[in-house]
Symmetry: C2
Amino acid sequence: MAKIGFIGLGNMGLPMAANLVKAGHAVAGFDLGRDNLERASNRGVEAEHSAERAAKDADVVVTMLPAGKQVLDVYTGGVLKAAKPGTLFIDSSTIDVTSARAAHRLASQADMAALDAPVSGGVSGAEAATLTFMAGGAAAAFAQAKPILESMGRRVIHCGEAGAGQAAKICNNMMLGINMIGVSEAFTLAEKLGLSHQALFDVAAASSGQSWALTSYCPVPGLVPSSPANNDYKAGFASALMLKDLKLAQEAAAAAGASTPLGAAAAQLFGLHNAWGEGGTDFSGIIHLIRGKGGQ
Amino acid sequence: MAKIGFIGLGNMGLPMAANLVKAGHAVAGFDLGRDNLERASNRGVEAEHSAERAAKDADVVVTMLPAGKQVLDVYTGGVLKAAKPGTLFIDSSTIDVTSARAAHRLASQADMAALDAPVSGGVSGAEAATLTFMAGGAAAAFAQAKPILESMGRRVIHCGEAGAGQAAKICNNMMLGINMIGVSEAFTLAEKLGLSHQALFDVAAASSGQSWALTSYCPVPGLVPSSPANNDYKAGFASALMLKDLKLAQEAAAAAGASTPLGAAAAQLFGLHNAWGEGGTDFSGIIHLIRGKGGQ
């Protein structure tokens, strides 16, 4: 069993760290929020009073932070100096590809191993240890990280070199955001044409219009029992997080020189959804923006 | 076995009529093109020299024509007068919802039964009798049509009242067009970020970014053996036909007062793809438009 430092014990980090404890690892945790630290302590994490102390003597340091700036601040703020050489730094935050690569470089310069390993599966996946990890970095780092990540998730995929995990996540989520708007437009058009939800679903679910957004996460109620539409659009995967990922995709596209016209439009539409106060609801609630007033 | 009049013996209509002959029906056919008529004759269709003659004495009249105008021209041009009262008119053309409903009204005023029943599956599906029919109209008309349509296809779905078949088809294909562009954008972004096609496919195919466009019809070669990308983007489903369907969706949305921002953008992008001379290639070739020059 490993000694693990865990930095960032929020909605995602806390249950992830708790699952590492459950798996028998010794976890030393740090979070800027005193409440988060106390909750972590109640779930078997040894609460430390700085990120450096959490990293000291660790075999592996996991970060789960809101954005690239925080990850780089932590890496440059003393953590890399505090850890022993050869420590594996796993960043599971969802951040921009440029910052992810910068984090790899900083770790490498300090003689550390590094992996970017963002997740999908949300808070419920973090609690149930059913997350998917998309990892970028050297094969040796991946091999070392795999059993650790498997304590927190069900699927662990090596996507390529530094930054490839972040790239895979934003490419996947860009498709998801686009597909969900497309499904919402199709149901809205069907409603206006007098075509029932059930009829469109029956045709498209078994045909070329099929997508996970339609058949596993349908934005209209009554067709897919597990979809948040049946639970008053309680997130699930919040619209604010979809907007964050679509913006990361747009940043990456701009930096890399890729044209993503529908990805850009999707970011704008989820921006509107958030501007109308719906950031906390599930992202499939975008259908309400598309439908407008007076619909079903 | 029924007496069937078949009007429109082009790329789609000819093999469909031939499959009705194979199933044992007596098929009288008409097409404005002398070559089409001769080819139909070679496959067992009785060639007639006018649409009216093909409809005379028929139990069922099938039309397979390019657009709403031609269908309405045929209906008002004497066919409805030539047929015996109670004849079932099945229009399998892909046309606008407004014209489809007008065709239903004309048939009804002439004491005929009617069904709109556009297909998916393309020329290969028409030849192999594996088409999907999406039907709109009264239950009795659908019940009468079903065994006939099953001679030409594998799935026959009753979508609702007059126009519902056309509505289902354009809603499905609008999702397909949007999803395919989204997949193309994601692969293009992945390329620019150094993420391999295989890695993105492995992540997204088993995750929330999945769609039929990705996992059954992947626009990059080497991942889905049956996809046209492996056959130099030979259609398949031509970009010109996707553009036609996306325009029909936009017409319907405008007439019904639905907002479909990504559907509109998809129509514009496939318009560009056609403007660049790619109308005859498979619609998944849209990835070349998205990628631009100098890509993979």
